[in-house]
């Protein structure tokens, strides 16, 4: 079972080794996607909120206001680049960049799809469509989202404005508080997958939901980790991801009724636009992590014909867009939290719940598969065949040497099961 994609690419085309081009395709694809979709996201947000609040929304520029964001962007380009007198100049110009770059960099390890290639000897192998198929994919995203806060903090400090400073302070405290719960929720998924590499996490969701389930449910929405980790981690992660991106109802760093516009009060024209784009790019990245970790990544919801004909990256984008819709939905529904309520939720509710749930998941895993913990770690044997019947597809295919390093990291876990 090679996922849902029927297209098989040859390994060599006109003398070019196609699998080694995959990261570059993914790099261009994900950069273009994030940068091009941001105006669309702003339009979606305005239309959805207008619908929920029973008003017209954007309807002047273009059909259904579709070009309104473009017009706003052009306006921002030609606006005066106003700068207050006593700002810390270098940090003031560094801050929008620091808000933008980590958001774009975080998308590098999201597995968009598995591409299938045909080796010259006829065997098939898959290469995940991602920029960097690194062993520490999840930690890399967490690191980038940790660096994200510098943009906000520096903006708040360098503007020499007390409201901006308060916004920056709130952002740093909020980010530190919610990173913990976020990590704990993600650890539950890692515990189920046995890998930090996101394409393996997706591959481990391509299994039967429970032993003895009919084959048609393999890799269906019932076997994704949102259900397998017991719903609590996905709820914690979703709350934490909204807090990490400073969106409503956790948008205290830019609470306009108290802090004017918070950390970006003093930023105008394109510098403001970069904060805006950074925020939306972060929303895309954390929603992508949610999709890959808990919602099956590029897998279709069920393996029947109309769904399996749609290529995987379309499913991935659909799942990311559901995340974006959820953001907008919450923003239109919930009022902003008070600051002490925000801290209470993070430290006194989500963190203990996440810790307890991590132990519950670990115990259940141990009870179901008692051989998992006490197996002596075998040395990495090249070409070892996995013994488990439900191995991820990437581990079961014959892998040529050129991509062995990319796809063989699932094997140590398989080898650990040998008694």
């Amino acid at each position: 079972m090679l996922g849902q994609l029927a297209i098989v690419f040859p390994e060599y085309w006109a003398g070019i080794h196609l699998p080694s081009l995959v990261p570059y395709v993914a790099l261009v694809g994900i950069l273009v996607f994030i940068l091009a979709i941001v105006p669309g996201l702003i339009w979606i947000e305005r239309v959805v909120i207008a619908f929920m609040q029973d008003r017209s929304g954007p309807n002047r520029v273009g059909p259904r206001g579709l070009l309104q964001t473009i017009a706003d962007g052009v306006k921002l380009f030609f606006k005066e680049d106003f700068r207050p007198r006593s700002v810390d100049l270098r940090l003031y110009y560094l801050a929008p960049v620091m808000a933008m770059i980590p958001a774009l960099a975080g998308g590098a390890v999201l597995p968009l799809q598995n591409l299938t290639f045909r080796h010259p000897d006829g065997s098939l192998f898959t290469v995940p469509l991602m920029v960097g198929n690194v062993n520490i994919g999840l930690l890399y995203i967490l690191a980038m989202s940790g660096l994200q806060v510098y943009g906000v903090v520096l903006a708040g400090w360098s503007s020499n404005n007390k409201y901006s400073l308060l916004g920056g302070l709130r952002a740093s405290a909020q980010l530190i508080s919610y990173e913990l719960s976020m990590g704990l929720a993600l650890l539950c998924g890692v515990l189920m997958a046995g890998s930090l590499q996101l394409d393996h996490v997706v591959a481990m969701q391509n299994q039967l939901p429970f032993p003895g389930a009919p084959e048609i449910l393999r890799g269906s929405f019932l076997s994704w980790f949102w259900l397998k980790t017991g719903l609590i981690p996905v709820i914690i992660y979703t709350i934490a991801m909204i807090a990490e991106t400073n969106r409503a109802p956790f948008d205290l760093p830019e609470a306009e009724s108290e802090l004017i516009a918070g950390f970006h009060t003093e930023f105008s024209s394109m510098k403001f636009a970069m904060f805006f784009m950074g925020e939306y790019a972060t929303m895309l990245t954390v929603s992508g992590l949610n999709a890959a970790m808990f919602w099956g990544g590029a897998l279709p919801p069920i393996n029947i014909v109309p769904f399996t004909l749609i290529p995987g990256f379309v499913w991935f984008i659909i799942k990311v867009m559901f995340g974006i819709f959820f953001y907008v939905w919450l923003r239109a529904t919930l009022p902003r939290l008070r600051y002490d309520a925000l801290m209470n939720l993070g430290w006194k509710r989500m963190l203990p719940l996440g810790l307890v749930w991590l132990f519950v998941i670990a115990s259940v895993n141990l009870a179901l598969e008692p051989g998992k913990s006490d197996a002596a770690p075998a040395p990495l044997a090249p070409g070892a065949t996995p013994r488990r019947p439900m191995a991820p597809p990437s581990a079961r295919l014959p892998v040529p040497l050129s991509t062995a390093s990319a796809t063989s990291a699932a094997k140590p876990r398989e080898d650990n099961r040998t008694p």
Partner: protein, 170 residues
Amino acid sequence: MTFEIVLFWILALVSVGASILMVANVNPVRSALFLVLTFLCVAVFYVMLSAQFIAAVQIIVYAGAIMVLFLFVIMLLNLGAPQALRERGTLQPYAAVALALLFILALLGSNSLVTLPHAQVPVDPNLGTVQNIGLKLFAQEQPWLFPFEVTSILLLVAIVGAIVMAKRKV
């Protein structure tokens, strides 16, 4: 190999320069940011040595958490004004430079700068993966599981102690 050497020298210059600027800067926020830059350079060094996990943890823990906390405290106490912290008329910087020069002379005299060990063997690219580090730390024939857990309990006790000290009425 030449690419790695070029990368190494660029990173070495940036990290050493950033750490010198970190010490020399009178503005605490900029000092903290130069320290972040140094941490990031060290993380890239780890990646070049195939220690990916350590690199990611370096960024998450030091650049992402500890330095954000530092910045938080600096901003909360509003130490931003550089004039407040400038120490006038002390001999400390001059003494520091003189002692550093003395240290370099001592290193040169002991000949240890010239005979630094050079890694000739190409490093195994899977050296620093999560699996390898986990096997090294937690496998049953390794003695590190108990010290690791004891260290974590020590950190927990320190955190609880800090909270108790800060908040009298618990």
